[in-house]
């Protein structure tokens, strides 16, 4: 394939893009060749995407979605207790059987989700392999994103951004990246490799049936922190703006007239709620809630949610956008918002 020829030529075939369910995914990436070479090196060390199109559980009414809750949460590579979070914040019992009632349908946009699998390949020599992060939730065992989706009966779209360390005696092969978990079926999966700053970051997007059945696109984003001092000086601090420009252009290619309702949320790694990238995103997604000054990681406000109603019938439920006060073992607090028909 011509587009992968660049990667293959430098010894880093990025097979993970098309392996497994990757064939079903539309992949986008930056056009700049240095970006592509470096991204291929990172990609060569990760496994294929995971796609579970439909939730494995059936729910009692509400059959039609009356309201949709969208959560964004950086789950810190296994540190965040996802089942505990879902039960406490959304009233969703992962261990309940079919036919249990559901308080609300939800979409959880996760960043720093991890997967432990033998399907993660041995990295080629020289491939980018960042250090391993192994976090444990406050209660229960560490559980990867695939196992979480299975246990909770949720649909899943997971695309790894990078490997999670090298395999060693007590640790198996792992990768980590962004994911979408939902009680609703997913369609139209899209993966976007963001312009490279410090680490490869893949944004995942999919469409779910929103309140009343009309579709809404949901997107889980993880922008980068500054790579280094030189990069900050050289770019004038515009690293995340560049990544957002790439993402926005991609999403505009998918929906040039901006008619499809869309939620873009995630860990933007911003140091201020007034950072340029936030101001730009507020323009791109004019129906977003105010970013708010609440800190979601230590003394910083990196996590945000943006919304554009487009021609869809949905609106943000007033006052529903909030920070979840307990971090459930992650180093980030989640943000959530509810959406309903106008």
């Amino acid at each position: 394939m011509q587009i992968d020829a660049v990667a293959t030529a430098v010894g880093y075939p990025c097979q993970a893009r098309r392996a497994g369910d990757g064939e079903s995914v539309r992949w986008f990436g930056p056009a700049r060749e240095p970006d592509r070479r470096a991204l291929a090196s990172w990609c060569s060390a990760v496994g294929p995407v995971e796609l579970v199109w439909r939730p494995s559980r059936s729910y009692a009414p509400p059959d039609s979605v009356a309201e949709l809750t969208i959560v964004t949460w950086n789950v810190h590579v296994g540190g965040g207790d996802l089942p505990g979070f879902l039960e406490a914040e959304l009233g969703y019992d992962c261990d309940a059987g079919d036919g249990e009632s559901l308080h609300t349908h939800f979409v959880l946009l996760a960043q720093e989700a991890y997967r432990a699998s033998d399907g993660v390949p041995e990295p080629p020599e020289g491939a980018h392999v960042p250090g391993r992060i192994v976090e444990h939730p406050p209660t229960g065992a560490r559980m990867d994103i695939v196992e979480t989706a299975e246990r909770c009966g949720l649909s899943l779209f997971y695309a790894p951004s990078m490997r999670n360390g090298l395999e060693s005696g007590e640790h198996g092969r792992e990768d980590r990246g962004s994911a979408i978990l939902s009680t609703l079926p997913l369609s139209g999966p899209v993966a976007v490799e963001l312009p490279l700053e410090a680490q490869r970051r893949v944004t995942v997007a999919a469409t779910v049936p929103g309140p009343g059945g009309d579709s809404i696109r949901v997107t889980s984003v993880h922008f980068d922190v500054a790579g280094n001092l030189l990069r900050v000086l050289g770019t004038g601090g515009s690293m995340r703006v560049r990544q957002n420009d790439g993402l926005t252009e991609t999403l505009d290619m998918l929906d040039p007239d901006r008619v499809i309702p869309i939620v873009v949320a995630g860990d933007m790694n911003t140091w201020s709620e007034r950072e340029t990238v936030i101001l730009r995103m507020l323009r791109t997604y004019p129906d977003s809630p105010a970013p708010g000054r609440e800190k979601t990681r230590g003394d910083w406000p990196p996590d945000h949610l943006f919304f554009r109603a487009g021609d869809g019938p949905f609106a943000l439920v007033e006052g529903s956008y909030r920070v979840v006060q307990d971090n459930y073992g992650s180093d980030h607090k989640a943000r959530l918002a509810r959406f309903a028909r106008r």
Binding site: Q2, P30, R36, L229, L233, R280, R293
Partner: protein, 247 residues
């Protein structure tokens, strides 16, 4: 609308997108290579004379030469642009203009430094060589500081040691006003951070960097204005001091 370097390519649509990829890549490669060359030449021009600075005294009114005028211009441009860029990083990245704002302030700082450096170099070559000597010290201090921190910061590489050298030399070339401004600014910033709940840490750092730039520009302007006068001040009068080095 496309943005420099971030034009997305649908990785599935091969034949059509390949031509776009090649066009954009070639164009951007040229653009980035040119920018790197200009930056390297600027730094060499600006800092080159700090290597092997003649051991001249600090006597005032030594007169200017063509060489000292060019050297003063290069150092002033470099120092002013870097100080302006650093000071504008945080405030500009809280505006929609973002990096365009940073570039504007860096250009303004470069302009002030350039004009001051020309004025200084055309009147007083000793003062120019003294500024180069300071820049040389700053270059070493900046790289040593980053080198010391490097083991504790995962992502820093040798290039960051170079970045530390650039920052250190531009602050030092800005005269004592730059670092005094940095210290005073950081003091005020941290104080406000402690007192005002809505004043965040980035703003505190921003005040420090603004103090550094204002102090540095003031030093350049004062040195330029006083160059060639009978009672020339070497720097901000209240901040001038001499360190006796016994070896």
């Amino acid at each position: 609308m496309t943005t420099c370097g971030v034009v997305p390519v649908l990785l599935d649509d091969l034949a059509q997108e390949e031509s776009l990829l090649r066009y954009v890549s070639r164009d951007l490669s040229r653009h980035y290579a040119r920018r790197r060359r200009v930056t390297v030449v600027m730094i060499i021009l600006a800092l080159g004379p700090s290597v092997g600075v003649p051991g001249v005294g600090l006597a005032q009114g030594a007169g200017g030469t063509d060489a000292s005028t060019i050297a003063g211009a290069a150092l002033g441009l470099y120092s002013g642009a870097t100080l302006g860029g650093l000071a504008s990083l945080i405030p500009c990245n809280q505006t929609l203009a973002g990096v365009r704002c940073v570039r504007g302030v860096a250009a303004l700082g470069g302009g002030i430094g350039l004009a001051s450096g020309i004025a200084l170099g055309s009147e007083d070559q000793d003062a120019v060589w003294d500024a180069y000597r300071r820049a040389g010290f700053g270059l070493v201090a900046g790289s040593v500081a980053v080198l010391a921190l490097k083991p504790f910061v995962d992502r820093w590489s040798w290039a960051d040691v170079g970045a530390g050298a650039v920052i250190g030399s531009s602050i030092a070339a800005g005269g004592s006003g730059a670092w005094i401004g940095l210290v005073l600014g950081m003091g005020v910033g941290v104080g406000l951070w402690q007192v005002i709940p809505s004043f965040d840490l980035p703003e505190a750092i921003s005040v420090g960097l603004a103090g550094m730039a204002i102090g540095g520009f003031t030093s350049w302007i004062i040195r330029a204005a006083d160059a060639g006068s009978e009672t020339a001040a070497a720097d901000l009068p209240v901040l001038t001091f001499n360190l006796g080095v016994p070896w």
